[in-house]
Subunit: 417 residues, 2 copies
């Protein structure tokens, strides 16, 4: 238990991951607790981008599709990423956005069910899921003519009752973006399989944040993003994972030329690639994609178990300090205390959460606000220190104790909140 | 008519666009005639990427979604791009890939027709269209359950006969990727409207290459890419244009959170943005997208009429020189001679086109090869000189006259050909 800033500094001195912080460029005067929204910049990223822009694009021009390996990049980076999520080689591609990959995968699963069990027309998800997941399911259902249903549960405990002989797919986000609640991936996957449905995991807040073993859990597909815990850069391309056993019978409707068996044969009829490349569609944003590798390369210097140990120590310390030092200041923990139910964040409700977060950001403690009421703090073991935890809590305590958040400028809402 | 290299140099001296070449970084010893596949690098791109990676991502972190204008980028760049294609403000977004944008727009159009004229279930296109366009239409039709038909014509003259009371959408690429044939946009659009169908243009080989006036032609929608003539960088995001009169009733199924009316309200139900932002889906690759602006900014220093004049002069000169200097060497022009039917390229068939192109590339004359038989040369008036035309033809002549293309190394096929 941290009682003083000295205690925190001592933990940092003993932290085996501490040296990795040097591989990130972080601004002075900032405590960054929003790596779950946009990861920090690996120092290697700027040089890598310059190489792609200068030598590969500028000098190599069109030849770089072959000579610099651009065309293979989605698969090569996918294989590197797969080591963090329990995927086998050839099962993952880095491509497009998480919303688009969700549409591909959900479409493929629904269609596969329509072929083998046409009575299965329900997609089960959580009302508290990140909204874009629900929007994509709604868009797909509308496109399919409305014969499908999106069934939303209000509590994880309601899942067994929502699954049945009518269920095609369960689409669940492993770690909730708002509360940090983490599902038991093997148990939920088993439950969904027992009901005869397919299991689609959204790993947006899991990849690089917590250990994930998709093949160990026998999941049927997953999507995730690279710009949060994986530190790929703003809006860096997302990923999609499909286990080998499903490649032959999962077809997705965004059947662009990059998913074709022979993209450069220029045949008028579509024939999907036999493997994971069938989940590709069009030409990828190579500069943004190249930087994904710089983020992944930091992870290869450690392992997800070490990251998990520090993540839990950071969130434990943060929760304990907030509850000790900010007692009576209207904060309420919404992240589970149980380790097995917690991702790599800690969220607190406050009746004026928006204003409090603006006041924190003004003092250089960057978390974010999520409707309604939630102050969200992400903990990224590669570059977050125990001293940051101490300092963040002290700043929060001061803002609440002095009512500093009541200053009128903190009530103004920007375009992106 | 160019008779000597001196004639070509004289044309370069008189070329009002010649100074713009200085704004591009081009390798020594290369004549680049493949800007229709991947545009050259504007010198401003590297510095812009460094700004986004360093100051905006590294220092600004999550705050840059607001402070650096990342969230507004698809619309802001869309408005800039719209000036090159005859779009009004608020009608264009830069986002995703051309294949994905085609899926969005084709879905929206088919659905709109299903609501007002359900008997219209045919998508008309050309067999010679770039394959991904056809693949996307096939993927959509399969997704919709097969009640739709993709009707392919073999010759532009067959279009009137292919349109009728069953036609929902005509999806035509304005300039053919292989031959460079250019359709008459206003006339074709009128023909399609007369048949009661909607007109979707693919501008992949038009935007930045030839003058385009989408609103003047009363087109119903368009997609295009930024990495060819617009010089946005490898795989830089594509664009989608929809005229304002269609915004309210075009719904697309990739309904991710960026297309929501209030993305950060985090509501579980999707409600589309009232304007063009409804064609956005997920979080965009900001570094790659930011560089699109560097390409667009070069165009703002001239105009499409001046670019068109030089483009036609370059392709006229190239065709005339090839036919004069390579006579009897088995080359056959497949690009129309008539100016009003020609994009900004010149393509020749040769029975060993692949090997000839590899030999050209080995000598620093970079065009590309397109199945079957076609040597394709793109002319980009912002950075291509008349002397390049002369030198390229002389290299081609020498390779053909000496059978240099028969060297065994030129027969080996790379992954991307």
């Amino acid at each position: 238990m941290i009682k003083t800033r000295e205690d925190a500094l001592a933990l940092d001195r003993d932290d085996p991951l501490a040296p990795l912080r040097e591989q990130f460029s972080l601004p002075d005067g900032v405590i960054y607790l929003d790596g779950n929204s946009l990861g920090a910049q690996p120092r290697a990223s700027a040089a890598r981008a310059q190489q792609v822009i200068g030598a590969e694009w500028g000098e190599g021009l069109i030849r770089s599709w072959n000579t610099a390996g651009w065309f293979a990049l989605p698969r090569r980076l996918g294989d590197k990423l797969a080591t963090l999520i329990g995927g086998a080689p050839g099962e993952t591609v880095v491509t497009d956005t998480i919303s688009i990959n969700l549409f591909k995968l959900l479409s493929a699963m629904v269609r596969h069910q329509a072929e083998r069990a046409p009575e299965r027309r329900v997609i089960v998800s959580e009302r508290s899921n990140f909204p874009t997941d629900l929007y994509i399911a709604q868009g797909l259902i509308e496109q399919l003519g409305g014969d499908y249903e999106l069934r939303l549960i209000d509590d994880p405990a309601d899942l067994p009752g929502a699954l049945g002989a009518d269920t095609a797919v369960a689409m669940i986000t492993h770690v909730n973006y708002r509360t940090g609640y983490m599902h038991d991936m093997p148990a939920v996957t088993q439950l969904v399989h027992d009901a005869g449905a397919l299991m689609l995991w959204d790993l947006a807040h899991s990849a690089g944040a917590v250990p994930v073993d998709l093949n160990g859990a026998r999941a049927d597909g997953a999507v995730g993003c690279t710009y949060k815990y994986l530190n790929g850069g703003p809006g860096s391309p997302a990923f999609v994972w499909v286990p080998q056993r499903h490649h032959a019978h999962f077809s997705q409707p965004l059947s662009g030329w990059w998913g074709h068996r022979a993209p450069f044969a220029m045949q008028p009829g579509f024939a999907p690639d036999p493997g994971i490349a069938r989940f590709l569609c069009g030409t990828q944003a190579i500069v943004s994609m190249s930087m994904v590798e710089c983020g992944l390369d930091v992870f290869l210097q450690t392992d997800m178990q070490a990251i998990r140990r520090k993540s839990l120590a950071l969130t434990d310390a943060f929760v304990a300090l907030v509850e000790a030092r900010c007692a009576g200041l209207s904060l309420k923990l919404v992240t589970p205390r149980a380790h097995h139910q917690r991702g790599s964040q800690a969220s607190f409700e406050h009746p004026h959460g928006y204003e409090v977060m603006q006041a924190l950001i003004a003092r250089g403690v960057i978390g974010d606000y999520r409707e309604p009421y939630v102050l969200r703090f992400g903990f990224t073991p590669l570059y977050t220190r125990f001293a940051d935890v101490w300092d963040a809590v002290e700043t929060l305590r001061d803002i609440l104790a002095t009512d500093a958040w009541k200053a009128p400028e903190f009530a103004e809402r920007g375009a992106v909140t």
